[in-house]
C-alpha cells in the first residue's frame, strides 16, 4: 500500500511520461507523413502539421448524431484516450529503473491494448452508422486474429528469463535489465537476436495494431467504408480520437524496443533515454516503409495470416523457450 505522497508522485510522473510520449509521437508522426510522402514522390507536410490537424478539430462545433447512443458516443473517445495514456505510462522509457509499484506486468499491458481497441468497437456501434458497424466488426476480427500471436510474442522474453519453475517475472523492467551484455561476439544480448522469429511476429502484430498496412488499416479502409468506426465522428470528439491515435507511434514502438531491442540498457540517465528514443524512431521508419510499400489485404486474409504464419513463428519460439535451446 502506498501513502498519499506516493500517489501524488506517481501522478506527477504520469504527466511527465505523457508529455514525453506526446512530443515523441508528434515528431514520429511527422516523420511518418514526410517519409511516406517522399517515398511517393510528394513534398509532404511541415513539422507542425500533425498537431495543427488535431487543434483544428477542437475548434469545431460539438454534435451528436441522431441515431447514436449519446452516452457511449461521448464515452468511447475518452476511454480510448485514457487507455492509451495508461499504456504509454506503463511501458517504461527504456530504463529498468522504473518505480516499483508501476512495474505492471505484460498481461496488464496486453489487456489495456485490448481496451484501447474496445473503444473503437463501441464507437462504431454507438454512432449508429452502417459504416461504423462494419468497421467495428472488422476491428473485432482483427483483435481475435492478433491476440494469440501477440500474447505469445509478448510473454516470450519473460518466459525466457524464468524457464518455468518458481522464480518467474512478468515485469517488463526485468526483461529490459536482462538484455545487458553481449550475445555472440559483438552482437548485443537483445531478444531480437535470441528469438528472431518471435520478434518478427511481434513486429507484424504491432504494425497491425498501429493502423499500418498491409493489415492495419482494414477497419478504416477509406475506399470501402469511409472511416470505419469513426465515420460519424467530428469536432472535438474526433480530435480526441486522433490524439489517442497519435500516441500509437510511441506506445507500440516503445513496447517493441523494450522487449526485443534492449530499451536503453547500458547507458546512464540522459543517454539511455536518447538511445531508446532513437531506436523507437528506427522502428517508426521501418514501419513507414512497410506501410508505403504494401497494399491492403482483405479481412479474411488477416485471420488466415495471423493464425497460420505469424502464429507458427510465435509457437516455434515458444517451443524453443519451453524446451530450452
Amino acid at each position: 500500500m502506498q501513502t498519499v505522497f506516493d500517489y501524488l508522485f506517481i501522478i506527477a510522473l504520469y504527466f511527465a511520461v505523457i508529455g514525453l510520449a506526446f512530443f515523441f509521437s508528434w515528431g514520429a508522426s511527422w516523420v511518418f507523413r514526410k517519409l511516406s510522402a517522399r517515398l511517393q514522390a510528394r513534398r509532404g507536410p511541415p513539422a507542425y502539421q500533425p498537431i495543427a490537424d488535431i487543434i483544428k478539430l477542437f475548434g469545431k462545433e460539438r454534435f451528436t448524431p441522431a441515431l447514436s447512443n449519446k452516452f457511449l458516443y461521448i464515452l468511447s473517445p475518452l476511454l480510448a484516450l485514457s487507455a492509451i495514456l495508461i499504456l504509454s505510462f506503463m511501458i517504461p522509457p527504456g530504463t529498468p529503473l522504473w518505480p516499483g509499484p508501476l512495474a505492471f506486468d505484460l498481461i496488464v499491458i496486453l489487456y489495456f491494448s485490448v481496451m484501447f481497441s474496445l473503444a473503437f468497437v463501441i464507437a462504431g456501434w454507438a454512432s449508429g452508422s452502417t459504416w461504423g458497424k462494419i468497421g467495428a466488426s472488422r476491428e473485432v476480427v482483427m483483435i481475435l486474429s492478433v491476440e494469440l500471436p501477440l500474447a505469445i510474442a509478448l510473454l516470450i522474453p519473460s518466459l525466457a528469463l524464468a524457464r518455468g519453475g518458481f522464480s518467474f517475472s512478468l515485469s517488463i523492467t526485468d526483461v529490459i535489465s536482462a538484455q545487458q551484455g553481449t550475445f555472440i561476439w559483438i552482437l548485443p544480448n537483445w531478444f531480437l537476436f535470441r528469438y528472431p522469429l518471435a520478434a518478427i511476429a511481434l513486429f507484424l502484430t504491432l504494425l497491425t495494431k498501429s493502423w499500418m498496412r498491409p493489415f492495419g488499416d482494414i477497419p478504416e479502409a477509406e475506399q470501402e467504408i469511409f472511416a470505419g468506426s469513426l465515420t460519424e465522428y467530428g469536432g472535438p470528439l474526433l480530435g480526441i480520437f486522433e490524439l489517442a491515435r497519435l500516441f500509437r507511434f510511441y506506445v507500440f514502438t516503445a513496447l517493441f524496443v523494450d522487449l526485443y531491442l534492449g530499451g536503453g540498457v547500458g547507458f546512464v540517465f540522459p543517454f539511455d533515454l536518447l538511445i531508446f528514443l532513437a531506436k523507437c524512431l528506427v522502428i517508426v521508419i521501418l514501419m513507414t516503409i512497410v506501410h508505403v510499400a504494401s497494399a491492403r489485404y482483405r479481412i479474411s486474409h488477416v485471420f488466415k495470416w495471423f493464425l497460420t504464419v505469424c502464429l507458427a513463428f510465435a509457437l516455434f519460439s515458444l517451443i524453443r523457450v519451453l524446451v530450452g535451446f
Binding site: 448524431p65 441515431l67 457511449l72 475518452l78 484516450l81 452502417t130 518466459l159 518458481f166 512478468l170 515485469s171
Partner: protein, 615 residues
C-alpha cells in the same frame, strides 16, 4: 454461530408453508423472501462469528462443518438464491403455485450440500437438489421445457451411478454396515483413519470425482447445461448457473485437493488442467454460433467453469510438485492457483447472474430471445443495458472489473507452475469471450431498433435491483479485490490446502497489481479527455435533425439502411469460425443417448489411464 441444520430446516419449513398457502400468491412471495433472507443473514453471521473450524454433532448423523470453504459456498448459494427469489416476484407472475415450493426446497438442499462434510450426505443433498430443480426447469410444462428437464434428470442420474459405486467401494473397504456406518463417509474420518488405501481408495475417490465433474460441468459432458437453461425460466437459469453448478460441482475438486496424497502424479494434474483448457476453448467457440441469448450465455458459462478447473488444477499440480520436492515455495503457487480458481468461481456467479437476470428482463419485455431479432434496446431499457454492459465487460476480462483480476491470478499461477501454454490458451479464450459478448451487446443493445420494439418498456424495478446489486459487486471487486480475497476467498483456500500460507507472504496475491492506482489513472485520463471535449466555450451542441442523420456517402436512405439487415452482427462476428462451427454443430445432436456415450467413452479413457498406472 448458527447451526446449518437450522437454516435448512427453516428453508424446508418455509417450503411446507408455501404449500399450505398455495392459493395466495403474495403470501408465498413474502414467505420465500423471509426464509431466504433469514438464510442469507445466518450465513453472513457464520462468516462474522465462526471460529476456524467447527464440526457439529448433528441430528441423524448429519455431519455439518462450518469452515471458510463451506461458508463461501453457502454464501454464494444463499446470496444468489435471495436475489433469485426477489427477481421471481415480477418475472413469473403467472407461475404455477409449486414454483416457490421447489425454489425453497432446492435452496435448502444446496445449503445442506454446501455445509455437509460427509460424502454420503453431500450425495443425498445433491440428489434432492437435482430432483427439485428438475421440476423448476420443466416449470412451463411445454414440450421443450419437459424435454430439457428430462434430459437434465437422465444425465444427472447417470452421473450419480459413478458416485454410488465410489461410495460403495468405500463402504466395502471400511467393513462397517448399517445406518451407523454413515460416519465412515465423514471427510474428517476418511482423512485421519487411513481406511482408504492403495488402488481401491484411489479408484473410489476417482469415481466420485467423475460423478461430480458432470455437475461442474466439464468438456465432454457439458451439453446438459445449455439444454436445461434454455428450457427453464430465466430466474431458474440463474439458479442453475450461479448456484447449482458451483455448489454441486465443487465437491469434485474438494475431494481431489483434500485427498491429494492419492493423486501425486504430474500426469494426472496436467490432464485435469488440459480438461479445463479444452472446456474453456471449445465452449467459447460454440458460443459464437448461438443466436439464442440464453444458450449463448450457457455455453459461455461452461467456458468460464473451465477457468475454475484450470485454477484449481494448477493448485493441485503445485501441491504435487511440493510433495515430490518438499520445496515450500510450491505451496505458494498452490495457494495462488486455488485462490484464483475460487475467486473466479465467486466472480462468475456475480456476473453470470447479472447477465441472466438481464436476459430474463429482455425476454419479459420483448417476448423473444433471438439476438438477430433484437436491436437498439439501450434506448428503451437503459438500466438493463448498462448493467448488462458491465456484466459483459467483466466476463470478458476488461481491466478494473472483477473478471480481469481473477483471470490475471490464474495466468500468473499457470506461469509460476511452469505451464505457460495453459496461460496463453486462457488469454486467447479471454479474447474470444470478449468477441462473443461484443457480438451480443452490439446486436441486442446498440444499432437501430427493428420497428416492432418501439414500445418496449423498461423492466420493473424489482427485476432490475438484483442485477444492480450484483453489478456493483463486479465493480467493487474489480478495483479492490483485496476485500473479497481476504474476507471470503482466503479462508476457503486455507481449508483446501494442507499447509496454508498467510496472505502477505503470498507473492501471487496482489503484489505488482495495484488496481486502485490503475483506476485512479484511468479516471484521470477520462477527466483529461472530458476537459478537452468541453474546452471550447460558445459552441452549442446542435439538435438532432436531417444534418445529423448518418453519413451515407451519397447513397439513398432506404437502400442504405438495408445494408444493416443484410449483414447482422451475428454473421459478421462468427464468419471466420464457420468451418470449425459446422464441425461442432454435427457433434451436438441434442440426443441424450449420444451425450451419454460421450461421457462413457471419456470415463473409460480416464479409467484406463488409472489402470495403466499413468495417473
Amino acid at each position: 454461530m448458527i447451526d446449518p441444520a437450522i437454516i435448512i430446516i427453516v428453508l424446508y419449513l418455509a417450503a411446507a408453508l408455501t404449500l399450505i398457502g398455495l392459493r395466495v400468491k403474495r403470501a408465498n412471495d413474502v414467505i420465500s423472501i423471509l426464509a431466504t433472507g433469514f438464510a442469507l443473514l445466518a450465513v453472513i453471521l457464520n462468516f462474522l462469528l465462526f471460529p476456524p473450524w467447527i464440526s457439529l454433532p448433528g441430528i441423524l448423523g448429519l455431519d455439518f462443518t462450518v469452515n471458510g470453504y463451506t461458508n463461501l459456498i453457502a454464501l454464494i448459494a444463499t446470496f444468489i438464491g435471495f436475489l433469485v427469489v426477489m427477481y421471481s416476484i415480477r418475472y413469473i407472475e403467472h407461475r404455477k403455485s409449486s414454483y416457490s415450493v421447489f425454489v425453497l426446497l432446492t435452496m435448502g438442499s444446496l445449503v445442506g450440500m454446501a455445509y455437509s462434510w460427509n460424502l454420503f450426505w453431500v450425495f443425498v443433498f445433491a440428489e434432492l437438489a437435482t430432483i427439485t430443480s428438475t421440476f423448476l426447469i420443466a416449470h412451463h410444462f411445454k414440450t421443450t421445457s419437459l424435454e430439457g428437464g428430462i434430459k437434465y434428470l437422465i444425465i444427472q442420474f447417470f452421473a450419480s451411478i459413478f458416485v454410488i459405486v465410489g461410495l460403495g467401494l468405500i463402504y466395502q473397504e471400511a467393513q462397517v454396515f448399517g445406518y451407523a456406518g454413515i460416519g465412515v463417509f465423514s471427510i474428517e474420518f476418511l482423512l485421519t483413519s487411513g481406511i482408504l488405501t492403495g488402488f481401491i481408495g484411489k479408484l473410489s475417490l476417482f469415481l466420485i470425482f467423475l460423478g461430480f465433474l458432470v455437475k461442474v460441468p466439464s468438456f465432454p459432458i457439458h451439453t446438459w447445461l445449455p439444454d436445461a437453461s434454455t428450457a427453464a425460466p430465466a430466474s431458474i437459469s440463474t439458479l442453475l448457473h450461479a448456484m447449482m453448478i458451483k455448489v454441486a460441482g465443487m465437491p469434485a475438486f474438494l475431494i481431489l485437493l483434500l485427498f491429494y496424497s492419492f493423486f501425486i502424479s504430474v500426469t494426472f494434474w496436467v490432464v485435469i488442467c488440459s480438461l479445463g483448457v479444452l472446456t474453456m476453448l471449445v465452449c467459447v467457440i460454440i458460443a459464437f454460433a448461438q443466436d439464442d441469448l440464453k444458450r449463448l450465455l450457457a455455453f459461455d458459462s461452461v467456458s468460464q467453469m473451465g477457468y475454475v478447473i484450470l485454477g484449481l488444477g494448477i493448485g493441485g499440480l503445485a501441491i504435487t510438485y511440493y510433495s515430490l520436492s518438499a520445496d515450500s515455495l510450491w505451496l505458494v503457487v498452490a495457494a495462488g492457483g486455488i485462490t484464483a480458481g475460487l475467486f473466479h468461481l465467486l466472480n462468475h456467479s456475480l456476473f453470470k447472474s447479472v447477465l441472466f437476470f438481464s436476459a430474463g428482463a429482455i425476454e419479459h419485455e420483448t417476448g423473444t430471445r433471438d439476438i438477430n431479432k433484437l436491436g437498439g434496446l439501450l434506448q428503451a431499457m437503459p438500466t438493463t443495458g448498462y448493467v448488462m454492459l458491465i456484466g459483459s465487460l467483466a466476463i470478458a476480462g476488461v481491466p478494473l472489473l472483477n473478471g480481469f483480476t481473477s483471470k490475471w491470478m490464474i495466468y500468473n499461477a499457470c506461469i509460476a507452475a511452469g505451464q505457460p501454454a495453459f496461460a496463453l490458451i486462457a488469454i486467447f479464450t479471454s479474447a474470444l469471450t470478449f468477441a462473443v459478448f461484443l457480438r451480443l451487446l452490439c446486436s441486442v443493445f446498440l444499432g437501430q431498433a427493428p420497428g416492432t420494439y418501439d414500445k418496449v418498456h423498461p423492466a420493473p424495478k424489482i427485476m432490475v435491483v438484483p442485477s444492480l446489486i450484483l453489478a456493483a459487486g463486479c465493480i467493487l471487486f474489480g478495483f479492490l479485490p483485496q476485500i473479497a480475497l481476504v474476507l471470503l476467498i482466503f479462508p476457503a483456500t486455507v481449508v483446501l490446502l494442507p499447509t496454508a500460507i498467510p496472505p502477505p507472504m503470498n507473492p501471487l496475491f496482489w503484489v505488482s497489481l495495484d488496481l486502485f492506482l490503475l483506476a485512479t489513472l484511468l479516471f484521470i485520463g477520462l477527466i483529461v479527455g472530458y476537459v478537452l471535449y468541453r474546452i471550447k466555450g460558445g459552441a452549442q451542441p446542435i439538435k438532432a435533425d436531417e444534418k445529423t442523420m448518418p453519413f451515407t456517402g451519397g447513397a439513398l436512405k432506404d437502400p442504405y439502411l438495408k445494408v444493416d439487415e443484410a449483414r447482422p452482427a451475428s454473421t459478421v462476428f462468427s464468419h471466420p469460425f464457420k468451418p470449425l462451427l459446422n464441425g461442432f454443430r454435427r457433434t451436438h445432436t441434442g440426443l441424450v443417448n449420444f451425450y451419454i456415450v460421450w461421457f462413457v467413452l471419456f470415463a473409460l479413457l480416464l479409467l484406463s489411464l488409472l489402470f495403466v498406472g499413468w495417473i
